[in-house]
Amino acid sequence: MAAEQLAQYLASGVVVGGIYALIGLGFVIVFGVTRIVNFAQGEFVMLGALGMAALGSQGMMPLAAFAVSVLGVAAVGAVLYRLAVHPLRHAPALAVLILTIGASIAIRGAALIVWGTDPLAVPAFSAGPPIVVAGAVVVRQGLWVLAVAAAAFVALWWFFTRTYAGAAVQACALNPRGARLMGIRVERVALLAWALAGALGATAGAVIAPITYATYDMGLILGLKGFVAAVLGGLVSPPAAIAGGFVLGVVESLAAGLVSSAYKDAVAFVVLVVVCLAQVLGALPWRVVAEET
């Protein structure tokens, strides 16, 4: 096979991997603090993308539209936590999971009512022809995806390691009871985690929208892929989730190019099952998910 074809698959895999990594981080942060798998994470992505489209069509500058979308969806995440998840904080995990499924469908339905079913176009952040990198053709927006993802990773790293609030989030993830005894308000940190997850999801949606268009039903599949990325990294480690995102993106792109593009969306599930099986058989050097006790 031609080397440039391979380079092409790798390049598009890395770009989409950046998206999966951003979404996966949202899963990791919420799961770390509240032990909840937030099914609505993909809807944050959709809201970010549709927010960009809606604000852009009002004539807002891309940068301003981006900031408003991300902050708006962060607020949606916080409100969702406070109004729906927080009342169920003592309920079994299954109940909370069903609640987030309900939230996800409600958000999708609301988007359908507001924006309809047609895909909405979002202009690229900067105009111009695609760029050739090491033999692969990359649309300019692809570079924006990677740049924004990298900026988000650095910002998160700085937040977690250099700020008091970030340390509090980590403390709650490690040991909520201990964190509470140290005077950290765990509920407030959980609220912050949900807002962060909303912001990360919206960031992913806003930067991918110029490539994929924005539709009300894009969140389901993207959320699923982000979840697989997070699981690949063990569901609790942000750097591992980022790595998981890029691995999934590249594997999916290679499989779609080399095997069959009709089953592209199946790749994530196959990866999930293979990794689970590998852990059950003890063939995996790291633990993907905690085994049930």
Partner: protein, 318 residues
């Protein structure tokens, strides 16, 4: 419910079902009753997973599709006898659930929701893309109705008897499973998985078993559906139907055998009502999918305010 009370309820239900074809003239109402039974079968499968394995399957529609397509392809394309095809379809539902559940249940159950969601999406892609067998997006036509000798289950009234008969048999069967040694083990898992494992219950194996049984029951609903409508295409078996099943179980009440049937009735009536009412409210767009917004809000409201569902409400009132 004690075994005797359940036997009485079953007998009463059977009598009502037997009388319905004479009491109800409208084909529309009879058809709706058939759909309540078929959805009830699928929802009972899901409620077993949720009530006993404590997990949620977001790909339950895929098992309904497996039942419908296996039975449909075997009869329409291979010329099999309908009953034999249905047995194979139910076995296929159990087998697929077993194979899917085996790796997932070994690990954290949190994976099951996403894993089954992905599974459901894959099955949908296969139905659409494997056109040489499934007929692809244009579907599979010419599925014969079931027949006993010369008696064909080809009218709404006859199908009503068959579908509700199957539903009542399944309810009786699952009721017995719940009261058996296996049922006690399952309730122990539900109470405390660690304690159940400590007294020697193989929790992973039992959960996979429940998942397989659920797959079989849901596939039975799917097979009956295929022989009732005689034409199937992929679109009713997508993620939206998995969500509908989840809404049925949550509305009806998870920890109850009649709950899913109650939920199925509520959802079928709700969907019919919404389809009649929504075009009036939202003239601008097609009303095709607006019901998902209502379902989402209902799911959240029930989880927050009425986690035991309609069945729990009925129990409290009684």
């Amino acid at each position: 419910m004690t075994a005797r009370a359940r036997g009485g309820a079953l007998a009463a239900a059977a009598a009502v079902v037997a009388a319905l074809p004479w009491a109800v003239e409208s084909r529309y109402v009879l058809g709706m009753l058939v759909f309540i039974a078929l959805n009830g079968l699928a929802a009972i499968g899901l409620s077993l997973v949720m009530g006993f394995a404590g997990q949620v399957s977001l790909g339950q529609a895929a098992f309904f599709a497996v039942g419908a397509y296996v039975s449909g392809v075997l009869t329409a394309s291979c010329g099999w006898n309908g009953w034999a095809a249905m047995v194979v379809a139910v076995a296929a539902g159990a087998l697929v659930a077993f194979v899917v559940g085996l790796p997932i249940f070994r690990l954290s159950g949190l994976l099951l929701a996403m894993g089954t969601l992905a599974f459901g999406i894959i099955v949908y892609y296969v139905l659409v893309n494997w056109a040489s067998v499934t007929g692809g997006p244009s579907g599979l036509a010419g599925i014969p109705p079931l027949a006993l000798g010369g008696f064909r289950f080809d009218t709404d009234a006859r199908m009503l008897a068959l579908a509700w008969g199957a539903l009542l048999v399944v309810i009786a069967f699952t009721g017995n499973v719940v009261d058996s040694r296996i049922g006690r083990a399952l309730r122990a898992i539900h109470g405390s998985e660690a304690a159940a494992a400590a007294v020697g219950i193989d929790t992973a194996r039992l959960k996979v078993g429940v998942f397989a049984l659920a797959g079989a029951i849901t596939a039975l609903g799917g097979a009956l559906y295929a022989h009732y409508v005689t034409f199937i295409n992929p679109s009713p078996f997508g993620f939206a139907y998995s969500v509908e099943l989840l809404v049925m179980v949550v509305l009806g009440g998870v920890a109850s055998i009649w709950g899913p049937v109650l939920g199925a009735a509520a959802v079928v009536l709700l969907v019919e009502g919404l389809r009649a009412a929504l075009p009036l409210l939202t003239a601008a767009h097609g009303a095709a999918e607006y019901e998902i917004a209502v379902f989402g809000v209902l799911l959240m409201a029930f989880m927050i305010f009425l986690p035991s569902g309609l069945a729990g409400l009925a129990r409290r009132a009684a």
